[in-house]
């Protein structure tokens, strides 16, 4: 995908984890939007042709009226993509969606409602390990607050050089995590197998996250940025089932 974002572009496209694209509209110009999207679809038809997209109007200074939004949706449709709804923005967007009978998809980070001033809890300051090399964009698949998140499940081994990241949820690995492999979760991590690589729980700063391992031989474990490396694994822990948790700033590990 081209990373160049020219401000003259009528929109830009983002992919979330469920493979839904977000058309962020920068100005209300249905014809330009259609042209721009058509170009994208032609450039990568496998990725964008008949792709489900949501329309994000939050970057417009004033919310367009129903007719203009209708024209934008039609522009997306005629470019060969399938608009499925509006992205959550302000309460006005909500009202607009209701009037137009469109679904409103995903609540984004609070950055979308700057006027309200109710900033979320501060991001964790402590990040001892390098931030996971994963996409940091708001993800459309983030469920609305209060719903069940479940856990991400990885069946089989995580091989050296591979990285698994469970965003906003727990991670369960049924298999071994090899030397040089990395498993990361914003929630807890459960590994039913050998951990020889790295495991980092609470990657967004949740100090209550824990790591559970059925065969402990880790290179490194971290919770909410507090980490321990193991040049030598203590004899009483090696090969044992253990759990790791934080008490204050101290990362504790004990046999289960």
């Amino acid at each position: 995908m081209s990373a160049k974002m020219d401000t003259a572009d009528a929109c830009d496209l983002r992919f979330g984890q469920v493979g839904i694209a977000c058309v962020r509209v920068r100005r209300v110009d249905a014809a330009a939007l259609c042209d721009e999207l058509e170009r994208r679809v032609r450039a990568a038809p496998q990725m964008f042709a008949r792709a489900a997209v949501v329309l994000d109007l939050s970057h417009l200074l004033d919310l367009p009226d129903d007719g203009a939004v209708d024209a934008l949706l039609e522009a997306v449709r005629s470019a060969g993509m399938l608009p499925v709804g509006l992205a959550y923005g302000t309460s006005e967007t909500e009202a607009l969606a209701k009037r137009m009978g469109l679904p409103l998809i995903a609540k984004f980070r609070a950055a979308y409602e700057p006027a309200q001033g109710n900033a979320p809890a501060a991001e964790p300051a402590r990040h001892a390990e390098p931030a996971p090399a994963v996409q940091r964009e708001p993800i459309l698949s983030a469920p609305p607050p209060g719903s069940m998140q479940g856990a991400q499940h990885h069946a089989g081994s995580v091989r050296s050089g591979q990285q698994i990241y469970a965003r906003d949820r727990d991670l369960i690995v049924t298999g071994a995590v090899a030397n040089g492999a990395e498993v990361i979760a914003d929630g807890n991590i459960h590994i039913y197998g050998g951990l020889r690589g790295r495991a980092m729980a609470g990657a967004q700063g949740d100090a209550k996250a824990r790591i559970f391992v059925s065969d402990f031989r880790a290179e490194l474990v971290a919770i909410a940025g507090q980490y321990r490396v193991f040049e030598q694994i203590p004899d009483d822990l090696e090969g044992q089932s253990v759990q790791c948790w934080l008490e204050g700033d101290k990362l504790l590990i004990a046999k289960l």
Binding site: S157, R159, S160, G161, A178, G180, A181
Partner: protein
């Protein structure tokens, strides 16, 4: 009927990929399968030496990929088995001379010519040459030595086989993985200088398809341009024979993994 494509790979260099490719291809031919073995190590051509056909290379793999010669002109018939062919690498080019489309064309051509098996001898590393060698594979033989760095590199390769191959990209049945432990020395395993079969299987989480004992015969055979599997008297040759049979679906117990017991005469006179 399409040819089964087997890649012999490892990540790490010097673990016995080319030796294995030569013996595997020869073993498949001995079992009556029409087999081609391709050297993907463009720039560091070795397979032709081990197969003993280095003086008969006229056109090579890169020539076919670029359409400068036909497959028929470039395939070198083995002097021992007439259903075995070698496609040599080019020594004067580098790995960028290969393209995915070119490799696919060659593999399709071999399928059309009625080959049962195509063995791809991968270069070391995880760059273009190695990627192309594994990309179209149906089976992978991952060669590993009983030492930690080789095991880690193999782990990386197993991960790539599960994600960077055509089968993975198309979401088809994954590449069948076979782990082959080479240069195994039971005596050194017994005194803790080498990882055991069990250690390697445990770290990598898959079972071995064969264990090739460390043996002087391998070096001698390679230097003489004879794949070691042809030497039925050597333990390494027999172990390769077992391995090929297992890849073809036969069940055989592992041999040569325990310290050989000294015979009566050796005990009396000192071994």
């Amino acid at each position: 009927m399409t040819a089964e494509i087997i890649v012999v790979t490892s990540g790490k260099g010097g673990v016995g990929k080319t030796t294995t490719s030569a013996s595997l291809a020869t073993g498949l031919a001995m079992a009556g399968k029409k087999t081609a073995v391709i050297d993907f190590d463009v720039g560091l051509r070795n397979l032709d030496l081990i197969m003993g056909c280095e003086r008969r290379v006229v056109y090579d793999f890169v020539n076919v990929v670029h359409g400068e010669s036909t497959l028929k002109q470039s395939l070198i018939k083995d002097k021992r088995y007439d259903n075995l062919y070698v496609l040599a690498a080019s020594q004067t080019r580098d790995k960028d001379a290969l393209t995915q489309e070119g490799v696919e064309k060659v593999l399709d051509g071999l399928s059309e010519d009625g080959f049962d098996y195509v063995v791809c001898d991968s270069p070391a590393g995880i760059e273009k040459g190695a990627h192309l060698a594994m990309y179209f594979a149906d089976h992978a033989v991952v060669v590993v030595n009983p030492e930690v760095s080789s095991v880690r590199d193999s782990d990386r390769i197993l991960g790539l086989l599960a994600s960077k191959t055509r089968r993975a990209e198309k979401g088809e049945k994954p590449v069948t993985q076979h782990l082959l432990l080479t240069r195994y020395n039971p005596a050194r395993v017994a005194i803790g200088e080498m990882l055991s079969v069990k250690d390697v299987e445990e770290i990598l989480g898959i079972e071995v398809v064969g264990v090739i004992p460390e043996s002087e015969n391998v070096l001698t055979a390679s230097n003489n341009g004879i794949p070691v599997i042809v030497d039925a008297n050597s333990h390494a040759g027999q172990a390769y024979g077992d391995t090929v049979a297992r890849i073809l679906g036969e069940e055989r117990p592992l041999r040569f993994i325990d310290v050989p017991k000294k015979g009566f005469l050796q005990r009396v006179f000192g071994g």
